[in-house]
């Protein structure tokens, strides 16, 4: 094994300097539940690991300007225990908490789930549906971009080698808004999504949907925004016709592969079903917030 170095900087500046100055491949460590598996298997052979967890603010959740800020390295278990976050963003919390076991939840982070760039990452469709942004730091300073701009393909991100995510920002919640995330796996726990569907919507007092965003996971090289969501959902109630239109739009957005978890045809069919069910849950949740 080539020589590996480890550093746990206590500031953003120090971490960026370490990444920028690395001679070979440098990997950013937050929870490590993907990185350590890849190190062990030899899939990645970095010369430097930069552990971000000693950077102030990188772990934890705070409310700001009516929205939420989630530190990049916040473990899933901490996300699941935050009741205010679960009230505002139940879909995001259920997506984050579907990742792995109790043990994995003790470590696994949103930044890791995103930057590992698996097409089947559970929290990513929910973050995108929520219109979350991520704050990225690097040698050129700080930038804030939508989550959907990070993954460019399986295992690939748009981050420069000296950049990493420090936090996620969730917008202020409008009244009568809610989200939901559903994952299809052949059992109830401990598996990787065949299809994941996230729906985030807002309805008015009469039940008319005024805004919606629908995102699918595991049906394309990256999470996909169901492009014409506005057309099937916005401006109507979630009746049978709306659900049928949503099902059709979801199926049209899929570009899946066939693998051991499901065929192309199966994934497309299931994507329609999961999207309808997630929409029904989000709609009901939003309705409880009159």
């Amino acid at each position: 094994m080539p020589s590996l170095a480890y550093t746990a900087p206590s500031s953003v500046e120090e971490a960026v300097r370490a990444l920028a100055g690395a001679s070979g491949l440098a990997k950013v460590l937050s929870g490590g539940t993907d990185l350590l598996v890849q190190l062990r298997s030899g899939r990645t052979t970095p010369s430097l690991i930069v552990d971000t967890k000693k950077i102030p603010g990188i772990s934890g959740i705070r409310e700001e300007d009516g929205g939420f800020v989630i530190g990049a390295a916040t473990p899933g278990a901490v996300i699941g225990e935050n009741q205010a976050l679960a009230r505002a963003w139940p879909g995001l919390v259920e997506a984050a908490n579907l990742i792995g076991s109790t043990q994995v939840q003790g470590r696994a982070s949103l930044a890791g789930n995103l930057c590992n760039a698996s097409p089947a990452a559970d929290s990513v469709p929910a973050l995108i549906a929520a219109r979350a942004t991520c704050v990225i730091v690097g040698s050129n300073g700080k930038r804030e971009v939508p989550v959907e701009t990070i993954c460019t393909g399986p295992g690939r991100t748009s981050l420069a080698r000296d950049e990493f995510i420090i936090e996620f920002r969730l917008p202020k919640r409008e009244p009568r808004s809610a989200d939901a995330y559903l994952r299809f796996i052949p059992r109830t726990e401990m598996d990787i999504a065949v299809v994941g569907a996230a729906v985030n919507l807002t309805r008015d007092a009469s039940g008319i949907i005024t805004d919606a965003r629908v995102v699918l996971g595991a049906v394309a090289p990256t999470a996909v925004i169901v492009a014409d969501t506005a057309a099937p959902l916005t401006g109507r109630k979630l009746d049978d016709a709306a659900l049928a239109a949503l099902d059709k739009a979801a199926r049209a957005a899929c570009k899946p592969i066939s693998d051991k978890r499901g065929t192309v045809e199966y994934r497309i069919k299931v994507a329609g079903v999961m999207t309808r069910r997630a929409a029904a849950i989000a709609y009901a949740r939003a309705g409880e917030r009159q």
């Binding site: 094994m1 020589s3 590996l4 170095a5 480890y6 746990a8 460590l29 929870g31 490590g32 539940t33 350590l36 598996v37 190190l39 062990r40 298997s41 690991i49 552990d51 967890k53 473990p75 278990a77 792995g100 076991s101 109790t102 043990q103 994995v104 003790g106 470590r107 726990e189 401990m190």
Partner: protein
């Protein structure tokens, strides 16, 4: 390869060790500190045989670098019994025969203790979901779940 000096607390005891950066906490627990209760099953975070708690949070010690233990408080299965007095979970695992080969047992015990520490009165469903990351190929899980439920009852003072 440079070694890191790590100061940590394991089962309440201040502990120091030297380690290379690629070693996992499990590697150091077993090979350096000779705490061989934590087992290496899969080394990929799927089986839970290496479960420990870090600052009270249940984790797989195979998915954590040993250097990350700096300043943390770690609890392993070796810390559960007090001298010759078994923890109620350990006692109930014996009474219910909740183990056969025993390889998964330390991880199941640590995980179960972490559950009961935060939820003294779990439902069977809660026990099963909490332990979903602890694989057992012998028992079929029923005896494990019954032992955990019985231990929880005893610890609440509700058993006869």
């Amino acid at each position: 390869m440079s070694k890191h000096h790590v100061s940590t607390t394991i089962n309440g005891e201040p502990t120091e060790f030297l380690c290379e950066p690629q070693l996992t906490l499990l590697d150091v627990l077993r090979d350096e500190l000779r705490l061989t209760g934590s087992k290496e099953g899969c080394s990929s975070g799927d089986c839970g045989a290496c479960s420990v708690t870090v600052d009270g949070r249940l984790v797989c010690s195979c998915l954590m670098l040993a250097v990350e233990a700096e300043g943390k408080s770690i609890e392993t299965v070796e810390g559960m019994a007090k001298g010759h007095d078994l923890h109620p979970l350990q006692q109930k695992f014996l009474e219910h025969a909740a183990l056969q080969c025993g390889f998964c047992t330390p991880g199941v015990l640590v995980a179960s203790k972490a559950l009961l520490d935060r939820n003294p009165d779990p439902t069977e469903t809660e026990v099963r979901y909490w332990l979903a990351g602890n694989l057992c190929r012998c028992t079929g899980y029923d005896k494990i779940v019954r032992a955990v439920m019985d231990a929880a009852a005893e610890m609440r003072g509700a058993s006869v």
